[in-house]
């Protein structure tokens, strides 16, 4: 039997955030506005989910300046990548259980 699905990732909105960040290369970051547009979320909603993911150690938030404009970049941490891989593996176990 697979372990209980990771509740931090299992919420659909956060799953979409994590899946998007996992599509980036290792060591790559995406700017907050670009991620928000990709996910079609409000800024407040995305911030809330990112904070939960950051608290869990899955997402790294880097605040910086580009010229005079503040900019925020997001990336999946190694912990986050592992958690996402485990989550997908657990889903596949469930799928096999259904089919088998």
């Amino acid at each position: 039997m697979p372990d209980e699905l990771d509740p931090v990732i299992h919420a659909p909105a956060r799953l979409r955030v994590v899946a998007s960040l996992a599509a980036l290369g290792r060591g790559d970051e995406v700017a907050f506005p670009k991620l928000r547009k990709l996910l079609d979320m409000t800024a407040g909603n995305l911030s809330t989910h990112l904070r939960k993911l950051e608290d869990a150690g899955y997402v790294r938030v880097t605040k910086t300046h580009e010229g005079r404009m503040p900019a925020t970049y997001l990336a999946l941490t190694e912990t986050g990548r592992t958690a996402f891989a485990d989550y997908q593996a657990a889903l596949m176990d469930l799928l096999k259980g259904v089919q088998g």
Binding site: L15, A22, D28, H49, L95
Partner: protein
């Protein structure tokens, strides 16, 4: 994806909200499919589209080198207008590649962005050197046939090596395969003689790029249609 988050986020439980209901409602297969679609959307938003780039370069080579071949068939050497057509095609494809790549990768930073920028600059430097070399050969009095062999062969050599290197850098084996094919094209073009060397460039070179558009499209379509089950170990038995 049809779901739209609202500020209430995961606490929302409205019956007709697919996002809210899906917390417990999505089956593992549906969830895996959603992950795959989301990642495809993320890649589309952050990486250049191989189909577009292969397509643009395929057309540029096909049209440009066909112009060279057509005009060289009568007199043995390409005419000036054909040279301008080829130059226009190459410059147009370059401009498209730069704008498309910058647009797609805007808002990302990190290792891929750095490698991508260096890779782009390497293309620029390589073809600047190419222009200088060909110019120097002309100044030294190389006959048109030798110039044609050198220009076509070295262009294919650079493209071939850069595509193989790109395939290694970006972990894209298909890109390396195109590079290897371009090295074959260099050899074919070198022995084709005038004016058929240009036909080889148009058909084998341009055609090679265009074949990759079909390959890329096929891979995308298959990935989409097989669904999440294809991702399970042991393949999609009984989807």
């Amino acid at each position: 994806m049809a779901d739209h988050d609202n500020p209430a986020g995961e606490r929302a439980r409205a019956g007709d909200d697919p996002e809210a209901g899906s917390d417990r409602g999505l089956s593992p297969a549906e969830t895996l499919r959603m992950i795959r679609q989301q990642q495809e959307a993320a890649r589309d938003a952050t990486e250049p589209d191989g189909r577009l780039l292969f397509g643009v370069w395929g057309l540029a080579w096909l049209v440009g080198y066909l112009a060279m071949w057509t005009s060289a068939r009568d007199t043995g050497t390409p005419e000036r207008w054909a040279g301008w057509v080829l130059a226009g095609c190459i410059v147009g494809a370059m401009a498209f590649t730069i704008v498309h790549s910058i647009t797609r990768t805007a808002g990302t930073r990190g290792a891929s962005a750095r490698i991508g920028a260096l890779y782009g600059w390497t293309w620029f430097l390589a073809f600047t050197t190419f222009g200088v070399l060909i110019g120097a050969m002309g100044d030294a009095g190389a006959p048109p046939e030798v110039m044609a062999i050198a220009a076509n062969g070295v262009a294919c050599l650079i493209v071939g090596i850069m595509y193989i290197a790109g395939g290694l850098l970006f972990d894209e084996n298909r890109m390396s395969a195109v590079g290897a094919w371009m090295l074959v094209t260099a050899a074919l073009a070198a022995f084709a003689g005038m004016p058929n060397t240009y036909l080889v460039m148009a058909v084998a070179g341009g055609g090679g790029f265009l074949a990759m558009v079909v390959v890329e499209q096929g891979i995308r379509a298959r990935r989409r249609s097989t669904g999440a089950v294809a991702a399970t170990p042991g393949g999609g038995r009984d989807a």
